[in-house]
Chain length 377, copies 4
């Protein structure tokens, strides 16, 4: 694995590295960790990398790695930069024969996303988008349960992603995460929308196996002076006839990373909360509520394949992330030139999810600006 982005002062780079390392299947062999060569070097050194493979630009990395013998060069590129630096390295990597795993939202705009899809499709290489939360075993379980019809036809979905870390103008203090996320040039058109709203939408679609077809949104910039939305609420309609609400906010002072989803079908409901991710609650009108727990013998294969420890030994965010890497790595190992890998078979989010995410962002912005209720995606 070669990495683009992920300097020492960032957050998500270290998450990717730990997630990739955990299961002993992926080795970080090179990277360009910052646009500042000194910072890139310092990061690479701290990671015990071969100094010759700590690069100053993604172009340099791709060029140099391509020259190495096949059994030595990086197999894939992990892109963990701010949004505005997703497209170019991803395109370059794909065009030079490297598989790509990339953070979300996929690009800066829907137009870029569509272009990247073309590049990815043309390359035939493996492309994964790290919608982390779909990696949790109990999300796999939830998806299976709904697919099996246990809840009956899905009618209602409430998905929420509630954070508080931007309740004050943190970006004005220079805090790195806050700064680029609230800068339209780096983050794109969406603030909270792109950062967490896309996670919420993706999670709802993944669990229900349905797509959001239209929405009615109100996006707010609550903190004075903030250029992008930091507080979103919307009604959503799904292609299976279900409807619901999607909430994404970063100004809920006191909240941590409170992503949750509730789904109700004709026969029963379910509830999952990311902050206690190993529990899936099923609710029934005519029998006791049920608590499914990850790692228990009765869980589905999809869930079991995404757990490492017996029940009661909690797994968390890094393990969910690692599940995406494990799935992606398996696809990379199985990859044969000229034969397209099916992401669904390996169960990781791919370039199509990335395009959907960008379309979701643009639709929500359009809806929020207009006076009409509904905008189609």
């Amino acid at each position: 694995m070669g990495m683009v982005g992920g300097g020492l002062d960032g957050f998500i780079g270290a998450v990717h590295r730990k997630a990739a390392a955990m299961d002993g299947q992926i080795e970080l062999v090179c990277g360009v960790f910052s646009s500042d060569p000194k910072k890139s070097k310092a990061t690479g050194d701290s990671l015990y990398l071969d100094p010759a493979r700590i690069y100053s630009s993604y172009e340099e990395m791709i060029k140099a790695e391509k020259k190495l013998p096949a059994d030595q060069r990086m197999d894939f590129v992990s892109i963990v930069t701010p949004n505005h630096m997703h497209f170019a390295p991803a395109k370059a990597a794909l065009e030079n024969g490297f598989h790509v795993i990339i953070d979300k939202p996929m690009t800066l705009s829907l137009a870029e996303a569509k272009k990247l899809k073309q590049v990815a499709d043309k390359s035939g290489l493996v492309f994964a988008l790290t919608h982390t939360y779909t990696g949790y075993p109990m999300i796999k379980e939830a998806r299976q349960l709904i697919k099996s019809g246990k809840l009956g036809k899905v009618r209602k979905v409430y998905v929420e992603y509630i954070q508080g870390w931007l309740h004050a103008p943190l970006e004005k203090t220079g805090q790195k995460q806050a700064s680029w996320r609230s800068d339209p040039k780096k983050s794109g058109l969406g603030g909270a929308l792109g950062d967490i709203g896309t996670h919420a939408a993706n999670l709802a679609e993944y669990i229900t196996g349905s797509s959001i077809t239209e929405l009615c949104a109100e996006l707010n910039s609550v903190v004075p002076g903030r250029l992008l939305d930091d507080d979103d609420m919307m009604f959503v309609h799904f292609d299976n006839g279900a409807h619901g609400t999607l909430i994404a906010t970063q100004i809920a002072a006191g909240e941590e990373n409170n992503l949750s989803i509730r789904v109700y079908g004709e026969k029963g409901g379910m509830e999952w909360r990311q902050e206690e991710p190993n529990t899936l609650l099923l609710k029934w009108p005519d029998k006791a509520k049920e608590i499914y727990r990850s790692g228990m013998g009765y869980t589905s294969d999809a869930s079991k394949q995404n757990t490492r420890t017996p029940s009661g030994h909690p797994e968390g965010y890094l393990e969910a992330f690692a599940n995406l890497y494990v799935a992606f790595a398996k696809a990379v190992r199985d990859y044969k030139p000229g034969k397209k890998i099916d992401p669904a078979k390996y169960d990781f989010p791919d370039v199509d999810d990335g395009v959907k995410g960008m379309a979701f962002i643009e639709a929500a912005i359009k809806s929020s600006k207009g006076k009409q209720k509904w905008v189609k995606i």
Copy 2:
């Protein structure tokens, strides 16, 4: 206390009676418990009432009681009938000098509500509306905490009332509660909206001390054949600048009586869940979350005055209901002809809350039918 409605096969009548009896301050002395005199008689007998004071109509009751000496006749009327039978007995009681406590929504329509307000105002008598959930001690605590500025300026409110009991067409089985609630002639224009949406709106307004000024709603009738809404979602704007979502649904299969509210201010957030009502959770960005518990010494006087037992001895729905009766009874005792009682001082919902509730219902229906986003209340 004399009661109108509340026959043995109902639900809310018994609740009112137990709530009124609990604290030894109110005695049920007469009633008309059903439009069917036999049923009224059977109910009255089961309640050990004087047979002479079990009536066949509210008109008869009011007439007969009025004739009794002041120290023997009922002091007030409790009206617990379906919505379409609220207005007439309330009006009659007030016009004949009896205080009134009445279930919500106050009337069948906003027009009726306004008329009833005129009658009540003119009478100068005590008038209470049983928005039960504002009777909980931790709701009193929440209101005080927000009023005190502890959360800072309120920015965001999420209020939800999620039930599952109407996930199937229960009304077709003849179940009494479901039947009248899904019948526009008895329930009014709102289904879930009137039954539980008004509770949610009232709770949000009570806690925040603000009023909803406009809303954008989608109301659905999810269960095939149902005439009224059974599933509502809306964005709401408050007069203090806050915004949020309000959800009310009765088709969330597996849910019980899941009313909850979360409020976020500039400095912190709070969360309360009716199914565990003795806990109020405060969330802070820079210090530990706090669990306030009813009955603890550090709670506010407003909260303490609404608890009966030390902390850890859970109080519930009936006690919250009883708190409204205690407040109302105190006002009735304090009442002096010609001197208007201030409901705010006694802390119970009154005829103005009733009018607001009906205006909320009509605005939500208008919004849901239109294509424009926002409708003013």
Copy 3:
């Protein structure tokens, strides 16, 4: 109902009154509320009692009430005094033809308890002991589930009653509850043991349908200067072969009224916590955990008969207490002279439970003082 004890500055008297009043079946008609006639009068007045029936001593009350016509006099006596004033009024009431309901622990000593049992048995009257916690619907459910064999043979019981209110020497401030409870002359040989340990033991025996046969105890007086135990822990053996621990402490600073019980059988386990009493958690090795909720349609008749509201409308401590009064009142109504009432049929704790409680106290004290592990009850 006539009451002995329960002045305005007490706690448990008001609880008894509210519990008795709630369901409209019991009327408080007279009482002696304090050994101080002025206080008794003040309390009776505040309760709107007939001044003629506010008495100065239990002897006076029994004598006066006995003279009243049968349809006017009190039907039974509720005794809510400190422990040292249980025996005499209970004996007098029974010997004069009044049924008795009495707070726990039943008496000051095992010897007294045995005498009272003789009196009660001889009288043939209805006698109930208010082990409140057995009145909860989910405790009824738990008992039924174990009885039905759903958990398999019971192997392990962990019962805990953890409070914090006596973590400091509250009795030195003159606080009434703390004062008599820490005074051996008023409380008896046990402190925490009598006050809450007996509740824990009774609950374990009630749920499992088994009796504690022997125990190994350590009783501590943690707060300096305290004369009675305030912190107890013991191993217990049951007559069905199960074993477990029983904890009762009042010095766990920060705890409220944290009574809980966990029972494990060969096939599964269960857990109930008094502070969230409407939930019963079942745990299974090979299927999802189950959350039973009071008021749901699938619960047992025993549970349903002890709920007043639909699920999700929480009932609490007062309702559990009221369930004992309802059961007792039914027995009183059914009572016919010369025909002994079976408490098991009505499902309330009786004089035998009272004797067991006192035997438990004395065995625990004996065990704690000795060096040998086990003491038989």
Copy 4:
């Protein structure tokens, strides 16, 4: 890192490997993964090891690795075999200059433990014992809070380790984990006692900073035919005057890995539950309960140094385990021959904890067999 034990069909070997790999500081370079060379080979291959460094015995591994240049050979040995195969490889590693990290309980007997301590002390090398649960950030927080005096003098400790996986005779099915753990030759004198009781004791001592000085135990073999204890309960006395209960059972059908600890001091209490490890609950008599959450800015340095992600991104069992490896690895990096490393400074359990654990086991067995209450450790 070289590993002894940890074949593919085991549980704890993979846990150690993932924990060691996660943070990119430790590389598995060699191992002997099974006493069966074929199995050892298969495991090593699956881990992408150099075939030349997959060994058939620990003796061979130590010999071969010692011959390698210092910058190529393993730095330390991780021992993850069943208990009876702890002592010999640990001794050999230490005597040949390799640091050791080893699973608990440290040895088969107290005598062995004392011998190993001599060897370790003499070697001057770094020696860590993987009492996993002390690696959790909220345990670090708890320890700091108690140390700081926030709870006041500690009075009461309730520690419980409740599992259900051995509620049936799983060992008779040949399940590997159950088989060796219930075999006295492989597990030692303690069953549940050694497997989980030692964790509970270590956790209580670590958090409180006190040592258990005497205990009164009942150990049971509940499942028929089982040779070792599967269910333990004991009273414990600490050297600071505190007392409490310690429960360890593996027959609580339906439980997962339910380790919890509650500590009460003069001023307040705390509660931590391993199955939701990122939360630490503080309880106060005179103010709101507090929920400390890992990753929040207000937590102690000790806690922060043991988290990888911001609050709300749950970390779990593997991360706790990894924290021990990180601490151990730091000590190994800092190690200089002839200068003893202080485990307390690096904050990992060491050989003294191992000796204490074995002494605890032997005292509990002695107590359980005797009729006297107390046995000193």
